[in-house]
Symmetry: C3
Subunit: 282 residues, 3 copies
Amino acid sequence: MALHPRLLQRALHPGCRGLASLTRVSREEGVTTITLTSPATRNALSLDMMLRVTEQLEEAGAERAVRAVVLRGEGKVFSAGHNLKEMTVDTGYDYHKRIFDTCETMMRLVGQVPVPVIGVVTGLAAAAGCQLIASCDLVVAGPHAQFSTPGAAVGLFCHTPGIPLARRVPRAVSGHMLLTGLPIDAEQAAMAGLVSSLVAEDRVEEEVAKICAAIASKPRGVVALGKRFYQRQLELPMSEAYPAGGRVMVDNLWYRDAQEGIQAFKDKRKPVFSHGEEKVES
Amino acid sequence: MALHPRLLQRALHPGCRGLASLTRVSREEGVTTITLTSPATRNALSLDMMLRVTEQLEEAGAERAVRAVVLRGEGKVFSAGHNLKEMTVDTGYDYHKRIFDTCETMMRLVGQVPVPVIGVVTGLAAAAGCQLIASCDLVVAGPHAQFSTPGAAVGLFCHTPGIPLARRVPRAVSGHMLLTGLPIDAEQAAMAGLVSSLVAEDRVEEEVAKICAAIASKPRGVVALGKRFYQRQLELPMSEAYPAGGRVMVDNLWYRDAQEGIQAFKDKRKPVFSHGEEKVES
Amino acid sequence: MALHPRLLQRALHPGCRGLASLTRVSREEGVTTITLTSPATRNALSLDMMLRVTEQLEEAGAERAVRAVVLRGEGKVFSAGHNLKEMTVDTGYDYHKRIFDTCETMMRLVGQVPVPVIGVVTGLAAAAGCQLIASCDLVVAGPHAQFSTPGAAVGLFCHTPGIPLARRVPRAVSGHMLLTGLPIDAEQAAMAGLVSSLVAEDRVEEEVAKICAAIASKPRGVVALGKRFYQRQLELPMSEAYPAGGRVMVDNLWYRDAQEGIQAFKDKRKPVFSHGEEKVES
C-alpha cells in the first residue's frame, strides 16, 4: 500500500521550508520572472516545485498587467528534471501518476497562459528540465547552455520530455538525445532550433530585455489571441488551419486595438492600445 | 453597410494604373518569373496584387512549356505584406473576408501549381510577404535578406503567416518571430530552414539559374506528380503515407518518361523526355 | 505477362553469388554492424539487398545480446538507391509492387527494431539510400558525406524517399532536394538536421563507438520501450501524446531496471541492470 500523498511529501522533504522557498517571483515593467531557487537539488522538478510553478504561471497569466513570463533557474543548472527520490516503489502507483499528471499540466500550461513564456538557459537543462524549456514559446541561451534527456541511464526513459522535444528539433537530433542521453551544446541546440536566441554570456540579460520590450509594445489581447491560435493551428492539417486562420484574421481586425494600430499606422503616429479584447462596432 | 467591393477598390486605389502594373511577368527557357513591381507600396499584397499573382500562377501552371516559376520583388523589399489601408472598419466585414479568402487561395496555389515555385529574397519579406516565401517550394536568399512577422505591432497578429511558417522552421523560431515581431536575418533563416539556398549577393542569379536548369532537365509530368504527392504525404501519418507512396512509385514507373529515363540510364545515353503524363502499355 | 519473381531475379543477377555476399554482418560488444558490400553496384538497394537487410535487422533486433545496430556501406557510396534494372516494364507490375512493398517493410523496420539504429555516411546516400539514412534513429556523417534524391532525373521521382526526408528536414530543404535533385553536403545536412553528428573523417569511428557505448550502458528493455513510444508519439497530436506519455512513464517506473537505476542513483553506486522488461511487485 502506498502512503497518502501528504504524508509522503513530508517524508520526502523532512526539512522542507515550504513551497515558497522553491521559487522566487519578481515583476518588473510587466514582466514576471519565475526563478527556480533550489540549486542544492539542481532545481529538481519535484512535485512541490511543479505545483509551485503551475500556480505562478496561472497567477501571472491572470494578471492583466503582466505581458510576458521569464522562466529561469538559480545557479549553474536550469533544472535537472524530476526528483528521482519521489519515484521509488514505496511512493506508490498513485503518487507516480500524480507526478506525471502534474507535470503534464505544468508543461501544457506554458503554452496556454495568454502571455509569451521565455525560457532562459545558461547552464544545464536535463530531462524534465529540458522538457520545460522545449515547452517555452521562445528560448534564450548563453554559450555554456547544455541540453540532455538522459533518463534511460537511470532506467527511466525520457518519454514525456521527448514529446515537446521531438516537435521542436529534427528527428535525428531528438533520436540522438533520447537514445544516447548525451548532451548537446548551445550551438547544436541553436542549429537544431531548440534555442531561438543564442547570445554571448554577457548579453543574455540584454537579449531577454529586448524580447520582453518587443512583446510589451504590442497589444496584450492581440498577442493572447495570436498565441492561442498559434498553439491550435500547429495541430491542424493545412486544409483546416487556413480556413480557421482566415476567420481569426477577420475576427482580430475588429479588435479595437487592431483598428487603433492600423489608424495610427496610417496617421504615422504611435498607437495607444487598450491591451484588452474589446471589439469595435460594425 | 460596407461598400461594394468594386467601389471600394476604386476608392482605395484612386490613381490605380490597373492590375497590369502591379507585377511584371517574363518567360525565358521555360522559367516564368513573376516580379512584384510596386516598390512604392513595399510590394504590398493588396487584394489586387493577390488576384494578379493568383492569375499569373494559374497561367504559368497551365502552360506546358513552363517548367518552373520564380517569385521575386522589385526593390529592396520582397513584400511587406497586406495593404493595411484595406483593413479599416469602413471597408467592412465582407471585404476583409474576401482579402483573407483570396490570400488563402494564392498561398495554397503556390503548392498546387504543377511546377516548382522558387522564392527569391534579397531584402525584407514581412508578414504576408514572409508567408508567401514560406509557401514556396524552395527559397533562395542573399545575405541581406530579412524575415519577420510583425503584425501584432499594428494590432493584427500574423495568424495566417504563422501557418506555413510554423511548418517550415523550428517552433522556438516561429514562436520568437510571431510573438516578438523581431526580424531574423539571412543566416538565421538558413539555419532555421526557411531558406534552402543562402548565397552571396552576386551569386543569387547564378543559384536561381542552376536550380531552374536542374528542374528543367527533368520530365515535367513526373515532377508534377512528385510535387503533388509530396504536398499530399506531408499531411498524412507515416502509416498512410507509405502505402500511398508505394502506389505512386509503381504508377510513376509506368510513365513513358520513367521507362525512357531508365532505358537511357542503362544505355548510358541522354534521355529524350516527352514531358507528358502518358503511360506505357503493360 | 510478367516473369515469376524467382526467374526474374535469376535473369537480373546472372552471376549472383547469392544473398550472403551483398552484406557483411559483424558483432562486437553488443553492436551489430550491417555493411552493404556491393560497391560495384554503388550498394544498390536491389530487391535481394533489401530482403537481406530486412532479415538482418530482424535477427539483430531479436537477439537480447544486441544493443545497437550500425548501418554502413563499403566504398565511397553508402547506397545510390534502388536497382533501376529491376524497374523496366519487362519485370512487370507485380514485381514493381513487390520492390516497393519490400522497401516499405525495410524502411519502417528500422524504426521498429527494439534497439537504436545508427546510420553512418562518409560518401553519397542517394534516393532510397538517402531514405534509409532518413529512417535511422540517428546519423553520423563525415565531412565528405552527400545526400540527394535525384530520382526525377531518370523519370522516377523520389516519392517514398520524400516521406521520411520531409519529416526530418525543413520543408524548403526537402523541397529543394526532391525537386532539383541537387545534392546537399555534410554541413548543409547537419544544419538541416538530417545528420545528428557531423565529425571529422578520422573521428567517425570514435563517434560511432561513443554513441554505441552510451546506448549500451543503458538498460535494453527500457531503451526498447523508449524507442517504441517515441515512434508512436511522433504521430499523435499533443493532446493524445501527453496522456499516453504519462501512462508510459508510470509503467516504466515499475520496470525492475528503473527501480534498480533509481536506487543506485540514491546510493551513489553503479546500477546493475537485467536489461529485460520484468516489473517489480507493487
